[in-house]
């Protein structure tokens, strides 16, 4: 049976945040929301300074605390390992946000069309409306509103409705059609890999056999399906630098 996982290769990550940007455009997330987030860290003191980067998507845990606390079944885990949110069942209680040790859940405080960079860009401009048939943002992806998987729910993020939770979906709408998550596809240096780890012959399975892997917050017992290669887990000596305008 298919089981999806993602590899984050810290020997390769350049911290460029193209993955954050590809995710944002693919999934039309609102301002300051990043389903994929890349930390840039500094540790040590000059001249014994080290830098590191750490991409952090939803870990799609096998023992997912967010699924356990969800009172409505909106947050659920599929047999293929992907942890998803049904926006039409979410009541916005935010228990998942509290339960998750990784900080990957985002609550929609605003109507999504009001949180699309409106301070800089007037999407109501008639020339733009003509060119985009009124879509906000203009790159709005209709696939997100479709029903996906055997469960037939709007699990690709739906329409980012006000009052509901959202998070990384492993780009379920792309994966269902045989594609890769948007972050994986755009990564210029193949720091991100994705695939079926149940089949021993897939490239990702081979990669895992050939490399030592670790989990973020191993001690939390969440059994993530995001595996890290290279680098080391962040420690208390780490200082985040170059923070974007993001809710983290």
């Amino acid at each position: 049976m298919t089981k999806y996982a993602m590899i984050v290769d810290l020997n390769r990550c350049q911290g460029c945040r193209a993955c954050m940007e590809a995710c944002k455009i693919e999934n039309n997330t609102s301002e300051a929301m990043f389903w994929m987030y890349v930390f840039r860290f500094e540790e040590g003191t000059y001249p014994d300074t080290r830098m590191s980067f750490l991409p952090r998507p939803c870990q799609h845990c096998d023992n997912a605390p967010c699924v356990k606390v969800c009172p409505t079944g909106s947050r659920f885990k599929r047999e293929d390992g992907i942890v998803l949110t049904d926006p039409d069942r979410c009541i916005g209680c935010r228990y998942c946000e509290l339960a998750c040790p990784y900080g990957v859940n985002y609550f929609n405080w605003q109507k999504p069309q009001e949180a699309q960079y409106a301070e800089a860009i007037d999407w109501s401009d008639p020339d733009i409306q003509d060119a985009t048939q009124g879509a906000v943002p203009p790159y709005k992806n209709p696939a997100l509103d479709e029903l996906w998987g055997t469960e037939q729910r709007r699990t690709a993020g739906g329409s980012h409705a006000k009052g509901v939770m959202e998070k990384c979906t492993f780009c379920v709408h792309r994966v269902e059609e045989g594609g890769q998550p948007a972050c994986v596809e755009t990564c210029p240096v193949t720091a991100l890999r994705f695939g079926d780890v149940d089949d021993p012959d897939t490239p990702i399975s081979r990669f895992i056999r050939e490399h030592e892997t670790w989990h973020l917050l191993e001690e939390a017992g969440t059994e993530p399906n995001v595996l890290y290669v290279g680098g080391k887990p962040p420690s208390h000596g780490y200082r985040e630098v170059e923070r974007p305008k993001a809710r983290v």
Partner: protein, 871 residues
């Protein structure tokens, strides 16, 4: 033009919502959370893909524009383009927002208020705006076409713009190079003949000096950021080690195996010490130095090469001599059987010494201990890096590449924008000598520069400089100030302000500005504010109302962003040769037009479109279509469409489908194949190294210095024209001690020059300016992380001070005597610019003491920092 794919879109048939409600849901998302029902579209949307290329950066990565009903919803990397292999950087992703930005210039604008202040505009027709431009430009052109200035920042179809248009109107031309790494280009053209800076051979290099390379944030020689890191991570997989030489660690991030936090502006000193150490430890490739460089040339006591006249009459040539050990006599280099690399000899009654011996004696003073004082690096670290370089070079070894045996020296340097410093020319020249000493230039795994060994015409030109008397042209070509001259917009501005001082009589009167924003992205701003007001007429061709347009344009001609045909665009990745085109994923938005259309229209208005020497004829020449033998040339008696031009060009390349090949997402990249080792490696090209003898010794530089002195140039201009690279302290070091910090500027991965900070998605990732400061240095000044601080710069030549206010960002990865500021901000015409803060370009200086000997800008200045200021 595109392959249409369809996908089941409507998966359930719940028709509970009416059409209007469904459309609302489709466009904006359901406005209430649970139980709102399932939105549906009434008709399956048409999805398709248009191949195109990125427009933001410099290397034009291949892209696929994914569309729904003709609306572009995403750009993804084109998998078949060797340059980016199906990937995109954050800018490539985010440019979709700028495509749809209603803050673009929508239609031609004509100024209605005075220049030198924020513009007020009226909408004009294309016909009127072009007519105004044509009349203003032609008035000057008819008197003296060289007084028309065509200035570019970025040109994405040089054949159509820099070549064809400039030739058709006969104007002067000014690029951005003096703000780029052009002093490095000049140094390489001088030293090894290639029009390039430095990069290693990532396929084989084992030890790399990342010398000021902003690995994780910026491009390098020839490419943007993306291609080099792709090569680098593969080299890391092989085990390549990196010694990173940079005042900031952030540039290398985790990829520095060793960090040499060098003091800004002292790279020449480090390079000289490396040469010293390589020679001291005898890491020398004597056969290379003897055969392929001028190291064996004999130098007279006056510093010039000993020469002998060979031939008679018009055939007579003065040929440099070497000592031929086979005959124990001085003979012209080309005739020598066994040239001596070392030694002093008596020739024609004069004691002469080999250039190599002079070089060795010269660098004897530059010990690692000496360099430690200058560069701030420990002597042991300098010695160790030189040793590692020498050891890893494996002098004498060879390797077989694609069936060709090539010398193997798996060491190289990556260096690019660090050239922009006062001593940049001699620094890059000396940094090229480091691999020269071990025979790594042009070797497999060694020091590469251009992708091939095409020799630039500056190489022969730099053999003998002819320094002229005034009057000079406004670029100061062949002047006593800059015998090597990159063409420096900042100096042009200074000349326009005070032409007499520089011996200039005629100044440019009108300007056409192409994708360039001197006020926003060049330095220094006071000179541009004063000089650009002197133009009688300025036309700006740009998708955005640039800051320069805001203050100085008479007419703004709105160009399209990505939605146009443009090219041809190289898709090579250094190892694979390929070409592609930019294909419009939609029609130009608003009333904008592609630049090629604009130049055809403008040429028509100016009366230079048709006939021999006209724009269309020049396009044929620029695209290699002029001879018409192939039957493929564009007509010169009627105006073609841009698509038709590219169709003709494509067919001339042997692509039967013409432009349709490039419009088909299944193709769209014309891959010519792997780059042959006999093109890539200088040792095995025919002739070797493209026929250029590498210059270890620069007698023509010394000759230029003497000519400059004879014509009365001040020392500040001639002091660095030396035959052997010679250290001196940078002028900025003469600033008073209270200006205790060096300020450098840097590039962030999220932005490109001054043309992205207004893209909201990128401004979200990298919101505004800051000053990186070491916490220990900040503590002395009572500055905390996040404090508002004032930076005051000082000009050591004029005494002028300038200041800006920004926010302190603590950084343990920067030298305590150095602060760094990103250069992407400081704009004001777009709403997104609000609150982003200033650009360091506001407080750098241009001109004497702050430019290289080749008229290239230095981005170094001494500053003092104080807490507080008006944020």
């Amino acid at each position: 033009m595109a392959v249409v794919t369809r996908r089941t879109f409507v998966k359930t048939g719940a028709g509970a919502l009416g059409g209007a409600a469904a459309a609302q849901s489709f466009l904006f998302g359901a406005s209430s959370p649970a139980g709102a029902g399932t939105p549906i579209a009434l008709q399956a949307p048409v999805e398709d893909v248009v191949p195109t290329t990125c427009w933001i950066g410099k290397q034009d990565c291949g892209m696929l524009a994914h569309r729904v009903d003709g609306r572009v919803i995403k750009f993804e990397g084109h998998p078949a383009n060797p340059r980016n292999n199906g990937t995109l950087c954050p800018k490539g992703q985010a440019q979709i927002v700028s495509l749809y930005d209603p803050n673009r210039v929508k239609w031609p604008l004509v100024r209605t208020n005075a220049k030198g202040e924020p513009g007020e505009w009226r909408r004009a027709s294309w016909d009127e705006a072009l007519e105004m431009t044509a009349v203003a430009v032609n008035e000057v052109r008819e008197r003296d076409p060289s007084l028309v200035l065509w200035q570019k920042g970025r040109s994405k179809a040089k054949g159509f713009y820099d070549t064809a248009f400039v030739k058709a109107i006969g104007s002067s031309k000014l690029g951005h190079g003096a703000y780029c790494s052009d002093t490095g280009y000049r140094a390489l053209e001088y030293t090894i003949g290639t029009h390039a800076v430095l990069h290693p051979d990532f396929r084989y290099t084992n030890f790399m000096l990342s010398w000021g390379w902003n690995i994780t944030n910026a491009g390098g020689n020839k490419f943007c950021w993306l291609t080099w890191p792709q090569h680098m991570v593969k080299a890391r997989d092989r085990g390549m080690k990196i010694a990173h030489i940079d005042p900031r660690l952030r540039s290398a991030g985790p990829f520095a195996d060793e960090w040499l936090p060098i003091r800004p502006g002292t790279d020449l000193a480090l390079a000289l010490a490396m040469c010293h150490e390589l020679i001291a430890q005898d890491y020398l490739d004597r056969p290379y130095l003897t055969a392929y460089t001028n190291a064996a040339f004999l130098v007279k006591s006056d510093g010039m090469f000993a020469k002998r006249t060979v031939g008679e009459g018009d055939e007579a040539e003065d040929l440099p001599l070497v000592w031929d050990e086979a005959v124990s006599a001085a003979v012209p280099f080309a005739e020598a059987q066994s040239p001596a690399l070392e030694g002093s000899y008596d020739v024609d009654g004069e004691r002469v010494t080999t250039a190599f011996d002079l070089f060795r004696e010269h660098v004897a003073q530059y010990t690692p201990e000496w360099a430690a004082d200058v560069t701030g690096l420990p002597a042991v670290q300098i010695r160790d890096v030189a040793t590692e370089f020498g050891e890893n070079a494996q002098i004498g070894s060879t390797i077989v590449v694609d069936g060709v045996e090539v010398p193997y020296r798996p060491v190289g340097i990556m260096a690019y924008h660090m050239a922009q410093q006062e001593l940049g020319f001699q620094a890059l020249r000396t940094m090229t000598m480091v691999p020269m000493l071990v025979g790594a230039v042009g070797a497999a795994g060694g020091q590469l520069s251009d992708f091939t060994w095409k020799i630039h015409n500056n190489y022969p030109k730099f053999e003998k400089f002819e320094v002229a008397d005034p009057p000079y042209d406004f670029m100061l070509n062949n002047s006593k100030y800059f015998p090597i001259n990159t063409g420096f917009p900042g100096m042009v501005a200074k000349v326009m302000i005070d032409p007499e001082r520089y011996g200039v009589e005629d100044l440019p009167e009108v300007a056409i500005l192409h994708m360039v924003n001197p006020l926003g992205s060049f330095t220094s701003q006071p000179e541009f504010l004063e000089s650009y007001g002197k133009f009688k007429f300025v036309a700006v061709i740009s998708p955005w109302l640039s800051e320069t347009a805001d203050y100085f344009a008479d007419v703004v001609l709105p160009s399209a962003t990505i939605e146009k045909y443009e090219g041809p665009i190289s898709a090579t990745n250094q190892y694979i040769e390929a070409t592609t085109l930019r294909i419009p994923p939609m029609d130009p938005l608003f009333e904008s037009k592609g630049e090629i259309d604009i130049y055809m229209d403008l040429s028509e208005k100016m009366g230079v479109l048709f006939g021999e020497g006209g724009y269309l004829d020049q396009v044929n020449g620029a695209l290699g279509l002029e001879d018409d033998l192939s039957g493929f040339a564009i007509p010169t008696d009627r105006k073609p469409t841009v698509r038709e031009i590219f169709d003709t060009w494509a067919k001339a390349q042997g692509i039967e489908e013409g432009v349709a090949f490039f419009e088909d997402p299944q193709h769209s990249v014309f891959v010519k194949g792997a780059m042959s080792p006999t093109k890539m490696y200088g040792y095995v090209t025919d002739p070797p190294f493209g026929g250029a003898l590498h210059r270890l010794y620069g007698d023509s530089l010394l000759d230029a210095q003497r000519q400059m002195q004879a014509k009365g140039a001040d020392e500040i201009y001639w002091q660095d024209y030396t035959a052997l690279p010679t250290w001196r302290a940078p002028t900025m070091d003469q600033s008073p001690d209270e200006y205790e910090f060096y300020m450098i500027s840097y590039h962030m991965i999220e932005h490109k020059q001054s043309r992205t900070s207004f893209i909201p998605l990128l401004a979200e990732l990298a919101p505004g300016t800051r000053v990186d400061i070491n916490p220990a240095a900040a503590a002395r000044l009572g500055i905390e992380d996040g404090d508002t601080v004032t930076i005051e710069s000082h000009n050591a030549v004029t005494g002028e001070t300038r200041s800006m206010t920004t926010t302190a960002a603590f950084c343990e990865g920067i030298r305590p005597d150095t602060v760094g500021v990103p250069h992407h901000f400081g704009l004001w015409t777009h709403p997104q610019n609000e609150g982003q803060g200033p650009s360091p370009n506001e407080i750098f200086f241009t001109g004497e003491g702050y430019m290289a000997m080749t008229a290239d800008q230095s981005f170094h200045v001494k500053v003092r920092i104080s807490k507080g200021g008006d944020a």
